[in-house]
């Protein structure tokens, strides 16, 4: 634990450095380097804790709520999530260092002073990481919520570092608002968990779990509270706005890591603090997850902004994780802990997977932004020629998030399906049938995600440049590439050797569902992923990768040996276009790529409409296609709420402009009413 404390204190100290030395040229290097080191230490500690399996370690600090103190405890779950945070922290620091330097240089070149352009990132970056780590360590309600809110606060400030962008203030405001609403829900939930005694320790809550009604309410509030942070539909609206608004390495942390902290909150409360679960908790979680997964990916398909698209895709992945959590809960409630362990393993594996490839993809978005200055898909294109290394790494990320074997995304999906296929073991009919539907939703989301990332990669990296900036782009610096390469390598490694990771976080799973995913197997060959439950199901990423590599190489050699190997370059055939239109307007754009899917799904869900403005024959103006769609979450939830508050505020405002006599009348009325009440109550 000492190592952990040192690392956390270092993060706080780095924030101070970031403030105190903000003028000095080496401060970026110091803060990002320090943060990477501290996160590395945290990660090492977490791995040590998971490998050592020496149970939970705890500490009490004499601060916080006076009669409670701050309780910290790290068990398997905490250690696992700490590892996720640390991984994200290391890569984001590395990438962020390069990213900020690149942006400073760009600002120096263009003659605009960077200091006036954006707000500070350095002090809040380590604090954000520290906040997330503390959430994972907290072992009493107060420290949990303080850290939770601190995490929101620092990330809000990080979003606001781009406050000169026209979109940022609204995004930041919505973000903080939703974050605080979520925290208030969590406050209420913990209020119920703690009861009236004021003993905020998790240990005390564990000993006295609430009775059924209160527990149900806690579940609801947790889903709302943690869900709003994770991006549960329809509470996701802030996410596609706020995540992209932050600098890219922060976006990566927010999307890749912070949403996982919300998942941790759900795991901690639903699996640990609430005691024995009831089956419908999991059912509700799965239903919410299914809606979130499908809606999230549909949102992503509608976006033209690279980072916004990635943020929407985060919503989808959170949905998948929630489905897995729900399954685990359902199986735990039905006393089949081994299958629950399988589902929970799927959830946790997807947590680490998503944190990896989403960080990677946000870094890619940052690299694109650095190289081209735009995030608009419709202004990109052809980057594979100008940013070759980034393009390879981005391809790994896109393939991984599309759940393609032999990468890591597929392993998570595979495990999840293995758990889903065990639905017949459940006693509840509604669940059996419901899980089939949820399975369809997962499959749909996965397939749509593949479409979404074909679109992202195809539009941004392939084809011809759609703007001069995209045509001039160049490869980004080494630090940024390294920041991208680490998660990309891990994506491959996890896909090929998933068993290692699943074994690594087995203590976490065991702590939550009291079983491991491989418990029924007496013998577990190390490279085969063959969990419990069904006969013969197994998967081997290593052999798959080996076979693909071997067959491909054999194929290439064979064809080049025995068939033709001549190549001639020519212009692409463009149906009469000579392939020389400089604006590359004849290419498919981001909107046109999404059109078939928009036609198939968007019409009902988003009320999406394509409007074509076709000029008269002879008119030389180009035809225009405009796509308009409405977000149901806004249309049916947030806009009405906003209108209601505005309406009330407008009407309450009359009270500011009354005459003194009217105010006296109010006072008099209050007095008379209260006196009458007293008279009535007494008689």
């Amino acid at each position: 634990m000492t190592l952990l404390f040192v690392a956390l204190l270092a993060l706080f100290a780095l924030a101070v450095v970031g403030v105190a030395a903000r003028r000095s040229p080496w401060v970026g290097t110091a803060v990002y380097g320090g943060t990477a080191t501290a996160c590395g230490l945290i990660g090492l500690w977490a791995v040590g804790a998971l490998v050592g399996r020496d149970g939970a370690v705890a500490a009490v600090l004499p601060i916080g709520v006076p009669w409670i103190g701050v309780h910290l405890r790290a068990d398997g779950v905490s250690a696992f999530f700490l590892l996720v945070v640390a991984l994200g922290g290391v890569t984001a620091s590395l990438f962020g260092w390069g990213y900020e330097r690149a942006h400073e240089q760009a600002a120096d070149h263009s003659g605009v002073h960077s200091g006036g352009e954006s707000g500070p990132v350095l002090p809040f970056f380590p604090l954000f990481l520290a906040g997330m780590s503390l959430v994972l360590l907290a072992n009493d309600a107060f420290s949990f919520l303080v850290s939770w809110e601190f995490m929101s606060l620092t990330s809000w400030l990080l979003v606001l570092s781009t406050h000169r962008d026209p979109d940022t203030p609204d995004a930041a405001r919505l973000y903080l608002m939703m974050a605080v609403l979520g925290t208030l829900c969590l406050l209420l939930a913990f209020g119920l968990l703690v009861g009236t005694g004021g003993d905020y320790r998790f240990d005390a809550i564990r000993q006295h779990p609430p009775e059924a009604g209160a527990a149900a309410l806690v579940v609801l509030l947790m889903v709302l509270g943690a869900g709003s942070k994770a991006g549960l539909v329809p509470l996701h609206v802030w996410l596609p706005l706020a995540h992209p608004a932050a600098p890219s390495h922060v976006s990566a942390l927010m999307s890749g890591v912070m949403t996982k902290v919300a998942v941790y909150a759900l795991v901690r409360v639903l699996f640990d603090l609430l005691g024995e679960p009831v089956w419908w908790w999991g059912g509700a979680l799965m239903a919410a997850g299914a809606v979130t997964a499908v809606m999230g990916v549909l949102y992503a398909l509608m976006q033209d902004d690279v980072k916004r698209l990635l943020a929407c895709s985060t919503i989808e992945n959170i949905g998948v994780i929630l489905i897995a959590l729900g399954l685990a809960l359902v199986f735990k409630a039905s006393h089949t802990p081994v299958i629950a362990a399988l589902a929970l393993s799927a959830a946790l594996l997807h947590v680490v997977n998503h944190s990896l490839f989403k960080s990677l993809l946000f870094f890619v978005a940052g690299a694109i932004l650095t190289a081209t200055g735009t995030r608009d898909l419709n202004r990109l294109g052809g980057l594979i020629h100008r940013m070759p290394t980034t393009a390879v790494l981005a391809l790994i990320g896109a393939a991984a998030i599309s759940a393609l074997p032999p990468l890591n995304g597929f392993v998570g999906e595979w495990l999840l399906f293995q758990a889903i296929l065990n639905a017949p073991a459940l006693p509840e009919w509604s669940l059996k049938i419901g899980i089939a539907v949820v399975g369809a939703a997962v499959a749909l989301a996965a397939a749509l995600a593949a479409a979404c990332f074909v679109r992202l990669y195809g539009i941004a990296f392939l084809g011809r440049p759609r703007s001069a900036e995209a045509g001039r782009a160049g490869e980004v610096g080494r630090a940024m590439l390294a920041g991208m390469a680490i998660p990309a390598a891990l994506c491959v490694a996890l896909g090929v050797l998933p068993t290692f990771v699943i074994r690594l976080f087995e203590p976490a799973v065991r702590a939550m569902v009291q079983a491991g995913p491989f418990d029924d197997r007496s013998y577990q060959p190390w490279i085969w992923l063959a969990p419990t439950s069904a006969i013969g199901n197994s998967y081997n990423g290593l052999i798959l990768l080996g076979m693909i590599a071997a067959l491909s190489v054999a194929l290439v050699l064979a064809i080049h040996r025995w068939a033709s190997d001549r190549v001639r370059r020519s212009i692409a055939w463009g149906c009469g276009h000579d392939g020389d239109d400089p604006a590359a307007l004849s290419q498919y754009s981001a909107s046109s790529f999404a059109q078939p899917i928009r036609r198939a799904f968007g019409g009902t869900v988003f009320n999406a409409r394509d409007r074509v403005e076709m000029p008269e024959p002879g008119d030389t103006r180009p035809a225009r296609l405009t796509v308009c769609w409405t977000d149901p979450a806004w249309a049916f939830l947030f806009t009405p709420v906003r209108r209601a508050v505005n309406w009330l505020a407008d009407h309450a405002d009359a009270l500011q402009f009354l005459t003194i006599r009217s105010y006296l009348t109010l006072m008099f009325a209050a007095l008379v009413v209260v006196l009458t009440l007293v008279a009535v109550v007494r008689s």
Binding site: E149, L153, P169, R173, D650, L675, V678
Partner: protein, 485 residues
């Protein structure tokens, strides 16, 4: 028949009270405003030092004065905010004189009134006699009315007039309540001072006629509640905050509201100790919630920055009143903590707002933008203040709101929901405004007059309190929380 009460406190309490009183008289005679402003600081420093010395004393109560767990922290808090406000004021009036808004004669009056106001507040806090308490609060009203109208602008006169009329009526009602308390206590305790003395009343509370206590509490709540700024009695508060000098806004929000609430709480203790009287909790809860919800909504349409934060004070007074209304050791503790934290935070915000208004040359929120860019120290200070008042960690308000919300929801879910709703609505408005104030393209580049030390001193205290509370303070608050029922 009554044991003789010691007539003198062998402590620093007299110094705490006498220093401002003497200085009030003295400052009325000092023509040099620069000297006066530093004398003002000096006097406050003496008062604050003396108030710190009170921590170690355990004096018995006299007929007029008392020092107990309830008021000792509040006295120190008042003296501290008085000191920091005096420091802030020194820089603030420098700018006002430079811009020709105030002349030396008015400043003489201002400084004298400042000390007189502090005296009345400290007297009210340390009073052991209902009459003295009432006189002190009346005095506080009068001095602040005069200071609110200091600028002699049409708006400030109107605000002061509104303030005076509403609080005048309120104070009259409070006096009626005080008389009723005496009326209830007199048959039990006999005529004379004893029936108006806190410590005695509290000791004999169980024997006092509960029906008159009820009646009395209604008048006291409406009366002093007007000064607390509880809806629907709050109308004076936003205007008085907005139109007076900013140091006065800081002490109004930071101190006067607290002292008025302190008075209400003293009487609530009496009712709690009586046992047979109607529980005043529901009344406080209703007024607290309505203040919270109303102020939260009002925040959205405010264009004047000081009025905006004045409504935020109403909101927080609502939260505090609600906390004491729902009662119980946790909620009462939260309420006391919130009182202290709000006092420090809100006055810090007003310090920052004072500087921001002087820089921008306007009180309109639209006219102030991008403070973190143009004046980083001020902008981040203001941001930290608003973040703190919005109830975000790691500041102290978070801890009190945490304790309050968690304990409320377990007991009264619906009330907990309303409370959370109000906080959320208010939060929306706060974020909306603070982002515009602190971020975006800056509007003003004028330098800051005076030091930001008071702002950061308050923020530091609030920050520390958010993560660590000293044990004696906790013990005091817990003792009072138990008494409040």
């Amino acid at each position: 028949m009554t044991p003789a009460l010691p007539t003198m406190l062998p402590t620093m309490l007299p110094i705490v009270l006498i220093a401002p009183l003497v200085m009030a008289a003295l400052l009325a005679l000092v023509p040099n405003w620069r000297l006066a402003s530093w004398l003002n600081v000096g006097a406050c420093a003496v008062t604050f030092a003396a108030s710190l010395a009170l921590f170690t004393a355990k004096p018995a109560a006299t007929a007029m004065l008392v020092l107990d767990a309830f008021n000792v922290a509040l006295i120190a808090l008042t003296a501290f905010v008085g000191l920091t406000t005096a420091i802030f004021s020194a820089g603030y009036i420098g700018h006002e004189v430079a811009s020709g808004t105030l002349n030396p004669l008015r400043l003489r009056f201002y400084h004298a009134m400042f000390q007189a106001f502090l005296f009345t507040l400290l007297l009210a806090l340390s009073a052991n006699n209902l009459g003295v308490l009432w006189v002190a609060i009346e005095g506080a009203t009068l001095t602040t009315v005069l200071m609110v109208s200091l600028y002699r602008t049409a708006a400030s006169i109107e605000a002061a007039w509104k303030y005076f009329i509403l609080c005048g009526v309120g104070i009259a009602l409070a006096l009626f309540g005080t008389i009723l308390i005496y009326l209830a206590a007199q048959p039990v305790m006999g005529p004379g001072l004893a029936a108006m003395t806190w410590t005695r009343l509290l000791a004999d509370a169980a024997r006092i006629e509960p029906n008159i206590l009820n009646l009395a509490f209604v008048f006291l709540l409406i009366g002093y509640g007007t000064k607390v700024g509880l809806a629907p009695l709050h109308a004076w508060l936003p205007d008085a905050h907005a139109e007076g000098p900013t140091p006065i806004s800081a002490v109004l929000s930071g101190l006067l509201l607290n002292v008025a609430l302190y008075a209400v709480l003293r009487f609530k203790m009496l009712l709690a100790a009586n046992g047979a009287a109607l529980a005043p909790g529901p009344l406080l809860m209703v007024m607290g919630l309505s203040s919270l919800l109303l102020a939260a909504l009002m925040l959205y349409r405010r264009r004047d920055i000081k009025r905006f934060f004045a409504y935020s004070s109403i909101e927080h007074m609502g939260i505090i009143a609600f906390a004491f209304g729902i009662g119980g050791p946790l909620a009462n503790f939260a309420g006391l903590l919130h009182m202290a934290m709000h006092s420090l935070t809100k006055s810090a915000i007003f310090f920052a707002v004072g500087h921001a208004v002087q820089i921008g040359g306007t009180q309109r929120i639209d006219g102030i933008r991008g403070l973190t860019v143009s004046h980083p120290a001020l902008g981040w200070g203001l941001l930290a203040g608003v973040v703190a008042i919005a109830g975000l960690p790691p500041f102290g308000v978070f801890m009190s709101e945490f304790l309050l919300i968690t304990s409320t929801f377990a007991r009264q879910p619906w009330l907990g929901l309303l409370l959370v709703l109000g906080i959320a609505v208010a939060f929306g408005a706060l974020v909306l405004r603070v982002q515009r104030l602190c971020f975006g393209a800056p509007t003003g580049g004028a330098p800051i007059h005076g030091t930001l030390l008071p702002l950061y001193a308050h923020l530091a205290v609030v920050l520390v309190a958010g993560v660590w509370l000293p044990a004696p303070l906790v013990a005091w608050f817990q003792a009072v929380a138990a008494l409040l029922g």
